[in-house]
């Protein structure tokens, strides 16, 4: 499909897919401090207030991930940033009941029209993907570059040129997003329709009843 299979001698670059990298999850309310005196549980705010480094216990799960760091930084930087890869059905819940090819087509090709939070990866046994997968842009991993270089046998594949270009642009688009109130340009009727779905919406001054274009009441 859309993958290549680089030799282990090839350097790490954006779009490389690793299987079995550590995803760390930590809680700011329950930080598990470990010391010679024994284990303790504290809130991160207390540790931050002290300002001293502590040793903590964190849960780690081996996951599949794709290199997000761009190629130049992947050659030299201290750390490599990756994005977690999970089952497509878990990342895009709209697909949890999807079965027909037509519905799958609609879901997978949304990228051309919508700035999604994921990047689609098709099944491929050689990579180890037995089902449709997705890169979750919301979940990042960070590992030391030099030590990841030594673990290149965990690299199971790499995006081909077309997919890699698409992936690069999608990362850029995702992190370039900015928050805005999407209903701001709707007229009265459109806003009413919008508010039936999102009743908490607060209209802008120019969207009140009796307000015409330019925010001037008539």
């Amino acid at each position: 499909m859309i993958f290549e299979f680089p030799d282990t001698s090839m350097r790490i670059r954006q779009g490389d897919i690793f299987v079995g990298l550590p995803r760390v999850d930590m809680s700011l309310n329950n930080v598990l401090i470990v010391s010679e005196a024994g284990e303790r549980v504290a809130k991160w705010a207390e540790i931050a207030a002290k300002g001293d480094p502590v040793n903590i216990i964190v849960p780690v799960r081996p996951v599949a991930a794709i290199v997000a760091t761009q190629d130049c930084d992947a050659l030299r930087s201290r750390d490599i940033t990756l994005l977690e890869i999970r089952s497509f059905k878990d990342v895009e819940r709209k697909s949890k009941d999807t079965t027909s090819p037509k519905s799958w087509k609609n879901l997978i090709t949304q990228h051309a029209r919508i700035n999604q939070k994921w990047f689609y990866l098709p099944p491929d046994d050689r990579v180890g993907f037995s089902e449709k997968m997705a890169v979750d842009f919301m979940v990042t991993l960070r590992v030391p570059r030099a030590e990841l270089e030594e673990l290149r046998d965990l690299r199971k594949g790499r995006l081909n040129t077309l997919a890699d270009e698409h992936f690069r642009e999608r990362i850029g688009e995702f992190f370039r997003r900015y928050p805005y109130d999407e209903w701001y340009p709707l007229d009265q009727e459109e806003l009413n329709a919008y508010m039936t779905e999102y009743p908490d919406t607060k209209p802008f001054p120019w969207q009140g009843a009796g307000v015409a274009d330019g925010g001037v009441k008539k």
Binding site: D25, N30, G38, G51, V58, R93, M138
Partner: protein
């Protein structure tokens, strides 16, 4: 000769009977007159004023403030009890496992929320 005697002997031998520059005397009675002189007061006041309005003191030094804050934190930590409450190793491992499971559960909930928003492609033939 023991070491104590040696040290004592050396110490005594280094005390001169008189300073090499000769004996000298300073009259303390004359000093107040020197410090109360008008030119001297004007000089001190001028120096103090110039320091007070100096640009160096015109703004807060963030590094100094930060250092003082950290010093205060370190000083406080000496008197504070150890951070957090003690738990057993087994409880720590249980909490760690729960943190992992909760994180994964919450990601699914977020994905459900996101899926409920926006265009429902299933409804678009």
């Amino acid at each position: 000769m023991n070491s104590t005697y040696t040290v004592d002997h050396l110490y005594k031998s280094q005390i001169p009977d008189a300073p090499s520059t000769g004996f000298w005397h300073e009259s303390h009675a004359e000093q107040p007159a020197k410090f109360l002189g008008l030119p001297h007061i004007a000089k001190v006041v001028g120096l103090a004023f110039s320091l007070a309005v100096s640009p160096v003191t015109a703004i807060t030094d963030p590094w100094l403030v930060e250092r003082r804050r950290r010093d205060a934190v370190v000083t406080m930590s000496i008197y504070q009890e150890v951070l957090g409450r003690f738990i057993s190793r087994a409880e720590a491992l249980r909490i760690a496992r729960e943190i992992l499971e909760q994180a994964e559960r919450e990601r699914l909930v977020f994905a459900e929320y996101e899926a409920a928003r926006g265009i429902q492609w299933e409804n678009h033939p």
